[in-house]
Symmetry: C4
Subunit: 242 residues, 4 copies
């Protein structure tokens, strides 16, 4: 990745925009997003910019709908196209976390009950080893008092990024969740299996005492599964081929 | 909207009938209605009339199946076509609530358990801010004694409208639920997310103590989400294009 | 219906065989049956005979697969085609219940937990008014001791019919359920909404104390819903058109 | 089956490779596997070899992707194609269990909560009689300490096979489950109905005290259902025809 920062980058790599459009469609096809939610990726030529679709349903995104934003949430090429109210989620996480290359924000249904009961997601199986010691929690009332719950400015974005800390997932009370990764493939995988883990954790808690992965197991499992991402990306993208 | 009342209006706007047919199909596609349930909209040229499909499965409705009714539930143009037994739900709500422009009545499955246990739906997240302080409840036995549970006349329709009061949703014990809105797009959104909220509220209650949106948050969230309706309407109508 | 009894009837009405094949496909499409389960109808020209598919997956049944059986479970026209092991469910219920014209036997998933915990299905809403005071229960161990659980002979069929009594549904411990009706349309409706009622009853019991329909409400609701069967049959058969 | 052991066999029967590819697709279509999981079958000409797809998503497997392995997990014909990390599950079970002809390893979602709470799957109905007295349990920590949870070598494979013992299913804590059978059709049936049984057992435990099949009933039911495998195989393969 290019270390350039605030200067305006050229157009992103065409293949990256295609992959981001595909990620949008996969997340809909796999039930992570519905008409809402978004996925971004850091610009391939500038650490200080990221790519994100214009304001629209993820299922319908094509490469032509991908815009470039700076970390303050300003679109460089939106023209008269509307942008997402919550683009600050992405910008402020990219600013706070140099290791992050892709971000998914969603209202993934199975995760919401955890967010509203302040229950951490913890890894029930190796597929969700990326959850490590568990998900972080964000209570917007602590920052904004009573609000519409959205991350609609940089201050809220910074507070969310602070709550995320070094975790891979942060649950947002009354709203949804945000997951980060080192690539589009990895963040899509994490968003899908965070949702699956939530389903399974809910069911397991109803059955009895749960043995979660311990931190060492979680780390080993996450590392192994990262070597298998091409396999699932092939499957998921096959189902939504543009 | 035209303020004319009881005189017979001309034919409704063709685009409105098309949109209402689309709404029928969306509600089926999204699992809110099955072979039963209906959605109506106030006539664009008369506050004292509304549009509703003939008695048929919502999934199969086309613009040619849309009829015009007065608020007493009389069809102006049914000919020999059967009408829904429960058209009084719509007429009496339009009479009691001048702010209401569209109504969905359904047996949306996830909501039924709330109706039969007298548990109010309350907003677990911003998507269902329209629920405000919670859903209203209607017990038909209080009005009709033992019955077939249906809103089959004006008296029952008025009792249901009274139970609804100024809320956006009323749960009907042993029957289903009714949701109101200021447009077709809004009422379809509300019906879909009332059902989703019910699913999530059930799961959250099993996990622990739930922090619901407070009234102020609910109001702010509802106002914001109303600005995003075009996005989901595009998605939903895309999936059921006539 | 012709009152002829044990003499061999002619070929059934072609439309009836088509409708029975359609019912097979609907029950699969609606999730009541999977690779197992069956639906029968009394012969249109003989009360002492019924129609049932050859031994095959319901989803694949065509009119050419429909066979005629007498009430003892003997096929008149099977040739070398295999028949269902449990055809005695149908024959013995037709013998015991002159009012029954159609029978569905399935392993409808949501109903199984009720069967194995001896919990009666009771109507949570008007759609399942046909459940009346609740489902009957059948414990095959009382008749057969330890067995493969199947109704594989006339003795077991008679015991099941006795357990059913005058009810519309009987739950079979460790096995499944059987639902009866006065027509193919009605029994398909009942099988679909017995399964839905089971889902909703399970969820409602987790939320709190349930107000079920009382017997009078159940009767009124069932009578009303029987007048709406054409609406759902049109929808369901549309989805599986042969 | 040929009793030859360690010598290198010829190419497997073409029909067997086609059937194994079909099994891969069925398991995806029926929700047992997602992008992960695998199914194998013993070589038709050598008890000491088995067939398994190359490392790829099961939904996309074709006969050309089927490789031959010896029981130590060495591929005879992989060339530059990647193999599954966990092929040792298959090899060591085939070594320990001469009666086993086919093996499914999956992360079948409904089963995971049982694995992580050490709750045995027990047969709630005749369809899952093959579960007998219940599933076995495997705790990898007992063998490997903290690991990535995968069966990535022969030692772990032998430990898993030992935990399986003479059962038909073994649940793997923090990972998934493995099911064995005497044919591809039977193991696919068992994997599908182990998952269904898990769903139903979870729901039943929430309703009340469960009467499971006793051991004798389970045995009788399993024997009967084995005579009906052709019926479901026809249905399942129809849905995924290559």
């Amino acid at each position: 990745m290019n270390s350039a920062t605030s200067s305006v980058p050229g157009a992103p790599d065409r293949a990256l925009a295609v992959k981001l459009a595909t990620a949008n469609r996969i997340l809909y096809n796999q039930g992570v997003v519905d008409g809402f939610g978004h996925v971004s990726v850091r610009h391939d030529a500038s650490d200080a910019h990221f790519l994100l679709a214009r304001n629209m349903a993820p299922a319908l995104v094509t490469p032509a709908d991908i815009l470039t934003f700076d970390l303050d949430g300003n679109a460089l090429d939106a023209g008269d196209r509307r942008v997402y109210l919550e683009r600050f989620i992405h910008g402020e996480i990219y600013r706070a976390r140099p290791d992050v290359v892709a971000v998914v924000h969603s209202h993934s249904p199975s995760v919401i009950p955890f967010a509203v009961t302040r229950t951490a997601l913890r890894p029930v199986y190796h597929m969700s080893g990326f959850l490590g010691e568990g998900s972080a929690h964000f209570e917007i009332r602590d920052v904004a008092g009573n609000s519409d719950l959205l991350i609609r400015n940089a201050t809220l974005g910074r507070a969310l990024a602070a709550a995320l800390g070094s975790n891979t997932a942060v649950l947002m009370r009354g709203h949804g969740s945000t997951v980060v990764g080192a690539s589009i493939e990895q963040v899509v995988y994490r968003a899908i299996y965070a949702a699956m883990n939530a389903r399974l954790q809910t069911q397991a808690l109803a059955l009895g005492a749960v043995t979660f992965l311990n931190v060492e197991e979680a780390g080993f499992a996450a590392a192994t599964n990262d070597t298998q991402l091409a396999r699932v990306w092939e499957l998921w993208s096959h189902a939504v081929a543009l």
